[in-house]
Amino acid sequence: MHSDMASAVLKLSNITKKFGHKTVLDNVNLDINSGEIFGIIGLSGSGKTTLLNTMIGSLRPNYGDVLFKIEHLLNYRDDKSQYRSVYKNETDVKKAFGFAAQTPSFYNKLTPIENLRYFGKLYELSSDIINTNSEILLQLMGIADSKNLISGYMSGGMKKRLDIACALIHDPKILILDEPTSDLDPINRKQMWALIRQINEKGTTIILSSHFLDELEGLCDRVGILYNGQVICAGTPNEVKSIYTKEDEIRLETSPGKYQKIMERISKESKLQIKKMFIQDNRLVLYTSKPERGLHEVLHILEQMGELLIDVSVNKPSLQEVLEKLIQGHKVVK
């Protein structure tokens, strides 16, 4: 979905958050546009969760403010251009935002439908709306068949989806997802990204954080990289990648997947200067400035080796690569 670039629905302005002597967020400035999927990337302990919690008003920053503007929440007296602080409009914020934390947050002993009905009540929705929304969400999440199953017995993927459903029960304008695909297997992760896209297509602005940088690339309209409490870079994935590398990334998945031997063959036979090759997530990753030729050569080698190509993609270097480089560039020397 294309984001409305001119209309930021959420503005983080000079956000600084300290816990004791440790500064977790350091002067963060970020705008989230309406209708976009914004990804927050960072290492563990970089402050992603803190940032997300600050956005919904759970944590109050030491300095700065988080401003939001959601038109349907405004009444006729409010200035439509006026942004409001999330800390001074908690009730509106809670109605407007949905949040799915890293750990699914619902009652394991209730069924999905009971969870949805319960949280719907907490959002002061009428029973009709709750029932309608519940049905829609259960269908959307693909867990309608398990609506009367005790939630604790569901699989990890189903739990995540239920968690998101609970976050969406009140039809929020902004959905914040904290690592929505952690602890999911690859297939479930893919399903989750597809779901997130579907939700976004309905108009919900989504802010998410993830470790799976390669997946964020294909999903997010924009990403922001958080390092040591600072947003060191923000933009579309390509914009971010372009800042740090000119090479393209070829990702291959083959069967039986003797990647080591493939790499040896490539090193020997390829006429291209393939600067970097490594195995990541059961895929072979290659960097080259001439991706078409590189791909041609690699496929040829694969055919010769009897490797069956399962999946291939050509991209700019992954966000992971970019992140590593960015971090190296920003590492604080003692």
């Binding site: 816990f19 004791g20 440790k22 977790v24 302990g45 969760t49 803190t50 919690n53 600050t54 919904i56 759970s58 944590l59 908690e90 009730t91 809670k94 109605k95 935002f97 949040f99 934390a101 750990t103 699914p104 947050s105 619902f106 009652y107 394991n108 002993k109 209730l110 009971e114 969870n115 009905r117 319960y118 949280f119 009540k121 907490l122 959002y123 002061e124 005790i150 609970c166 976050a167 297997d185 690859p186 297939i187 069967s255 039986p256 997947g257 059961n282 069956l308 399962i310």
Partner: protein, 746 residues
């Protein structure tokens, strides 16, 4: 409504756990049944009594016989030690030890000892009371017997004294009489003239006169003879004359008779005179003899009188003394009389002579102000408050902790629902459960155990409701403070136990130190609640009499509500911080220490040959090796590396730059002795080894989970491949081969 939704949700959560549901449903039933069965009795204490006596006699047996009732199970033991062991072993509640030679005697103290296990706080006093009561009865009987005896003797003494009072008068009068007699005797004695002189008797004169008398008598005799002769002559003359006179025969005869008679008389007189003359001579002789005898007798009498005089004197002295003695005796008699009077007065002054009254001047009668057929009535307020307290605190704390530790808690906090709503939701959830349980208990109490309650229903209900509310809030505070169910449960049980033990259910408050008892009465909600409930349920006091207390309880509940809300607010803040990944300073410290340790460990493993510390004794790549080298070198060489005067310390520099260990470098900089430096380095080496072990274990754990994740991923990829190949209808041989290869690879 949100509160309703929260309550419904809580009930679902609680009832979804079968165990919880069972406990909630059947818990109160079980409690009231067990408790009711245990306490629904008016039976008195059943006691196992052991006894021992070195010797048995009627008196011992009489005591033992008293205990042969249904209430007591008696057993004789062969020794005191055996009996004591029986108590310790729980076979007996009390041992009665009779003394040797148990009998009632003067100057004999019969100490009957009761051995009890006073560690059984609830029981031992009742047991002792029970046995003591029985023994007191028997002792009372014995005392009554002895008292009766004493009273009888006293009465006897009184009557004896009363009867003998007369004797005192008699004694006194006799004493007086004797005194008078003696006095009279004294007087008589003193007036007794015992002066005597035989000369006064003029014996010589007597003799002379006796002679004269004798001469006189002779002359008289002679005269008499002459008279008689004259008379006779006269008579003869007369006769002759008569003859001559002319008389009548009768007159002559008469005259003749007369003359005859006269002659006879004169003859008789003559004879008499002769006799008498002789006699007189004899008599005169005898008289002289007599006078002589009298003289000697008089002399004897004089002697005797002299003796009598001295005797009289002695008697007088004795009489004097006797008078004095009699006086003294009188005084003593008076004294004894007075004593007797005093004794009689004392005895008369004894107001109580009735044996029963002496033995037991006060008759105690315990009148309960409430009557009940079973002990359940008395214990029920305690029991119900106990149930409410434990269940209320435990349930509320458990629910709070369950909610707090539940994954859903975070989502609850980000909904537009106030904290107060959540608090009320949990509060009413617990309260409803408690109310249901209490209703069940009360129903069983009234219907099954036939106890009356309805007359005090309203005040009881209000009090119970407030008590439930308070303990629920307290449980919520506990639940909000503690983070795990285990600690919450422990805290709940601890708090409830404190309330229970500092109350008078286990041990009377009146026996505790005053400050503890005051604290309990004023601040222990268990005490406060049971007291109030007792007044409404047992004493059935009307509402207005307990109105102030109810208001106070309401105030306490309001305060507890406020405290709960504040605690919730504070803990919510902390929860959100944790949810955001915030760690406490301590946790942060630990985290950074772990990172620091890992960094140091890795640095120590990457010491190349160029970076190793070189000495004349060798090179060292680790702190341990350097420690060995330092120990081997001499002080002179050591001083080449360390000189605090100039600030040189090559070891510290090496630690900082090569080992990347600032802390070690600082410690080395402060040390300037060889041994100290070696020791610091040796310890640093131990730390590194320890860190290495920890890191290896962590790595193993991570690898294990990574392996699992990799296997999961592999199986998913496999699955995907199979599906994909199936869809593309690839030749099976190649698929099988691929799958097989993948499997062999794994």
């Amino acid at each position: 409504m949100k509160i309703t939704a929260i309550i419904k949700k809580n009930f679902k959560l609680v009832l979804r756990s079968k165990v919880s549901a069972l406990i909630l449903l059947f818990g109160p039933l079980l409690i009231i049944f067990l408790v009711g069965l245990a306490f629904n009795t008016g039976q008195s204490l059943q006691v196992n009594v052991g006894y021992y006596s070195p010797d048995y006699n009627d008196l011992t047996d009489s005591f033992i016989d008293l205990l042969k009732t249904q209430q007591y199970s008696l057993k004789q033991y062969a020794s005191e030690a055996e009996c004591r062991d029986a108590i310790a072993g729980g076979l007996a509640h009390i041992c009665v030890i009779f003394p040797e030679g148990f009998r009632i005697e003067n100057d004999r103290i019969n100490e009957v000892r009761f051995l009890v296990d006073n560690s059984k706080i609830n029981l031992f006093e009742s047991v002792v009371d029970s046995i003591e009561t029985k023994f007191n009865i028997r002792a009372f009987e014995l005392s009554a017997g002895m008292a009766e005896d004493i009273v009888a003797r006293l009465n006897q003494t009184k009557s004896e004294i009363a009867s003998k009072n007369v004797l005192f008068d008699q004694l006194k009068s006799e004493n007086k009489q004797m005194y008078d007699l003696v006095r009279s005797m004294y007087r008589n004695m003193s007036s007794l003239d015992l002066s005597f002189s035989s000369a006064d008797f003029k014996i010589a004169e007597l003799k002379r006169q006796s002679g004269d008398i004798s001469n006189s008598l002779s002359s008289i005799r002679d005269e008499g003879f002459r008279a008689v002769e004259s008379g006779l002559d006269l008579t003869d003359d007369i006769r002759d004359t008569i003859k001559d006179i002319n008389l009548s025969a009768a007159d002559r005869k008469e005259l003749n008779d007369l003359l005859t008679s006269a002659v006879t008389s004169f003859n008789s007189i003559k004879a008499s005179l002769e006799d008498e003359g002789l006699d007189a001579d004899e008599k005169s002789d005898r008289l002289l003899d007599l006078i002589s005898a009298s003289e000697s007798s008089l002399n004897k009498i004089e002697e005797k009188i002299r003796k009598a005089q001295s005797a009289r004197d002695r008697v007088m002295v004795s009489a004097n003394a006797t008078q004095k003695n009699l006086n003294q005796s009188l005084v003593k008699i008076n004294a004894v009389e007075n004593s007797f009077k005093a004794i009689a007065q004392n005895l008369a002054g004894t107001k109580v002579t009735d044996v029963q009254t002496i033995i037991s001047p006060i008759v105690k009668k315990v009148e309960p102000i409430v009557t009940a057929e079973s002990q359940l009535n008395y214990y029920f307020p305690y029991l119900i408050v106990l149930v409410v307290m434990f269940i209320g605190i435990l349930l509320a704390s458990t629910l709070s902790i369950m909610e707090k530790t539940s994954n859903a808690h975070f989502r609850n906090l980000i909904t537009p629902t106030g904290d107060l709503i959540f608090m009320l939701g949990h509060f009413f959830t617990t309260l409803i459960i408690l109310v249901v349980q209490v209703i069940v208990i009360l129903l069983i109490y009234t219907l099954y155990f036939n106890q009356e309650l309805f007359s005090a229903l309203w005040p009881t209900s209000i009090v119970l409701f407030l008590i439930m509310g308070f303990f629920t809030l307290l449980g919520m505070v506990v639940g909000n403070i503690f983070d795990s169910e285990e600690t919450g449960t422990l805290a709940s049980i601890s708090i409830s136990s404190i309330f229970l033990f500092i109350s008078d259910l286990v041990y009377p408050l009146e026996k505790m130190p005053v400050y503890v008892a005051d604290l309990a009465r004023n601040y222990n909600p268990f005490v406060f609640g049971t007291d109030l409930l007792r007044r409404t349920m047992v004493h059935k006091l009307p509402m207005y009499t307990v109105g102030l207390e109810i208001l106070a309880l309401l105030g306490i509940c309001a305060g507890a509500f406020l405290v709960t809300y504040l605690v919730m607010k504070v803990t919510k803040k902390q929860y959100l911080l944790r949810a955001a990944g915030y760690m406490s300073r301590q946790q942060l410290g630990r985290k950074y220490k772990a990172i620091e340790d890992q960094r140091i460990f890795e640095a120590s493993r990457n010491v190349t040959a160029e970076k190793a510390f070189k000495t004349s004794k060798g090179t060292a790549s680790t702190p341990g090796e350097l420690s060995v080298l330092i120990s081997a070198m001499d002080d002179m060489e050591f001083r080449e590396y360390v000189n605090n005067a100039t600030g040189k310390n090559d070891f510290a520099v090496w630690a900082k730059e090569v080992l990347d260990n600032d802390a070690l470098a600082d410690r080395l900089r402060k040390e300037d002795t060889r041994k100290g430096t070696a020791s610091i380095l040796a310890r640093a080496q131990e730390d590194l080894e320890r860190i290495g072990r920890i890191l290896r274990e962590k790595q193993k754990r991570e690898q294990k989970s990574k392996r699992y994740k990799a296997e999961q991923q592999l199986s998913e990829v496999e699955k995907k491949l199979v599906e994909k190949n199936f869809e593309e209808k690839k030749p099976e041989n190649k698929e099988d081969e691929a799958v097989k290869q993948k499997k062999s690879k794994s």
